[in-house]
Symmetry: C2
Subunit: 104 residues, 2 copies
């Protein structure tokens, strides 16, 4: 495995290594599951992502940026709000790194 690939992967894992950030991502993933089951891509406001999380706005902004920079989520402005969705490519990369190809 090339050094660049390892670094890229490590960055993704780092983005998921903070419980609050992981919760954000899992919430988004949960929503995505529901929506994908219905055949459309999910979008979601930041505020909505925070369900139960008691974090200040600057902190959330920072976490979202980390997840986006790592390639795990995609963001998009829509008026005042920031729309987030899981990046399917990033997710696929993660999963394939953890897959025992010899077994499947």
């Amino acid at each position: 495995m090339a050094k660049d690939d390892v670094d890229r992967l490590a960055r993704m894992f780092k983005a998921l290594s903070n419980p609050n950030r992981l919760r954000l991502f899992m919430n988004l993933l949960e929503e995505s599951k529901l929506d994908l089951a219905k055949g459309r891509v999910h979008d979601c406001f930041l505020a909505k992502l925070l369900g139960g999380l008691e974090l200040g706005a600057p902190t959330v902004s920072h976490h979202v940026k980390e997840l986006a920079d790592a390639g795990l989520i995609q963001t998009q402005r829509e008026g005042k709000q920031l729309i987030c969705s899981v990046d399917p490519d990033g997710l696929a990369e993660l999963r394939s790194a953890l897959t025992l190809h010899a077994l499947t």
Copy 2:
């Protein structure tokens, strides 16, 4: 998703968030793939895991402990040497967390 589960998952991701530690784990995983293909469980010395990694012994010892504490690898003494292998349960946990059940 319960708080404890999130914390446990986050700990696993954190263990993989350092490039050197991730390389250690990926080396082990690579070896495991080969061995599982042959129908046996792989074991591997620390020194062997280090292929190319220029880290001091204390650092490696520390990284191995982190991976073990996170539940990603299992260790076992054998004479002077420490035998490591991927913990299949931990790996399965990680993979299932990243799986879009609605899609599979």
